[in-house]
Symmetry: C2
Subunit: 234 residues, 2 copies
DNA sequence: GAGGAGACTATACGGCGTGAAGTTTTTATA
DNA sequence: TATAAAAACTTCACGCCGTATAGTCTCCTC
């Protein structure tokens, strides 16, 4: 009957997918707090314990979700990056940054899941979650810096970072992909990321409400100043 | 018999203080998730329900804690600001920023409480929490911009923000204190804040781990570039 | 010393994650 | 095809949580 290895595994995969999908729906509806095994099971007409056949623990489910959502973010910014391949460095950086913010605003719960305290008592299992997607986003910000680097003002290049200032972790793995990027360039990548993250996370967590009515304008101004501070000559 | 209004109220105030203190201790120990009425009561040799005599609900307790912690942060940055009153704008900005980061690193749970998803199902009651402390921190960042403004490069002044781009909320109340600060200056204040917040929150939430081994250096470099990008002539 | 207010406990409900044991359904094998 | 194994799923249970209701005890006041 079915394909290789039979239909048992197909059903299993479908159920696994449904669990994740229902969990994401619950998150979109009621925030990350709404991700409970019992609620998911209720929604699926199952018992909460049945989920343990698919995920060893609730935190493992959450980790999987983080991976899933993180991948969606990586897809979004990668797509924007690819589409702007013909543009100059300043435009590419702006495009990437806008894609990042647009995704975050469209998926605020996902953003919280990735970058905030995800879910009530969540503890990331060994090695932390989402290494693949994190690697991709990390590659993205390194690509930003790599694109800008040849055009960047000398003040950025003057900073005295060493290779030893960076972990062998994510950036260490990303590094070989950008042979032209020196330590100061990696530092620049992190700082660009932080600038974008700062504004977006303030907006997502509502700390800009009560401050400004036009976060778009503020973000665009920040992009103008970011590109300007890089010293890129257009 | 105690002072005005008797000792009954004094005991009450002491118990209230102890509840908050125990809650903060639990938070420091086991993270924001550890703030549970039952755990607090256990620690105090009481019943969980006894706490309802002091706080109407768990969220009200959390709101109070946020206020408390937020005030501590405001105290820290205000103190740094006051101490640097004799310095130039660049130094004052750096001093404030360092105080912000130092406080955050010393009180990571507090930082999460203020700027992240505080506690499992927490919903801020009407009006949101911590208006006073938020006002003070808001005043702080406005003061940063106000100090920098007269020395700031023309590119920042050129941005076309209007008064109508800002809420009547926090910044609206802060505005009168800085009559020399135009709309573009308020925008600058928010952007400076966001830059600092971005780097610090990435660090607090562990997203810089696996990236760099020297967040200090990265932060200092960001300060150098921040001051530089402001165009302040020293 | 009687009344009342305030502080606290007891009990209970529903929701949570999860462990242990049991039941039903499907698959693989003799 | 009959049967044993494995997988899927349920039931029951435990301890945690916030919180509502009702009851108890203690102290202050008149």
């Amino acid at each position: 009957m079915g394909s290789t290895q039979g239909r048992r595994e197909r059903l299993r995969a479908e159920t696994t997918a449904e669990i994740k999908q229902v969990a994401l729906k619950l998150m979109a509806t009621g925030g990350p707090d709404a991700i409970t095994l019992r609620a998911i099971a209720r929604e699926m007409g199952m018992t909460a314990n049945a989920i343990y056949g698919y995920f060893a623990t609730r935190d493992e489910l959450v980790t999987t979700l983080i991976n899933e959502v993180y991948t969606a973010l990586a897809d979004a910014v990668d797509a924007a990056w690819a589409e702007s391949s013909a543009a100059g460095p300043a435009d590419r950086i702006r495009t990437w940054a806008r894609a990042f913010r647009v995704w975050a605003l469209a998926n605020p719960e996902g953003f919280r899941l990735i970058y905030g305290d995800p879910v009530p008592g969540y503890q990331a299992p060994e090695g932390g979650p989402a290494p693949d997607a994190a690697y991709r986003v990390c590659t993205g910000i390194a690509a930003l810096a790599d694109t800008a680097w040849p055009h960047v003002g000398h003040s950025h290049a003057a900073s005295d970072f060493q290779w030893s200032d960076f972990d062998d972790g994510l950036l260490g793995k990303v590094r070989p992909a950008f042979p032209g990027l020196p330590p100061a360039g990696l530092a620049l990548a992190l700082r660009i990321w932080a600038r974008l993250h700062g504004l977006v996370s303030l907006e997502i967590y509502g700390h800009l409400r009560g401050q400004t009515v036009s976060p778009d304008k503020l973000f665009e101004e920040e992009l103008v100043q970011l590109v300007r501070s890089l010293g890129i000559r257009t």
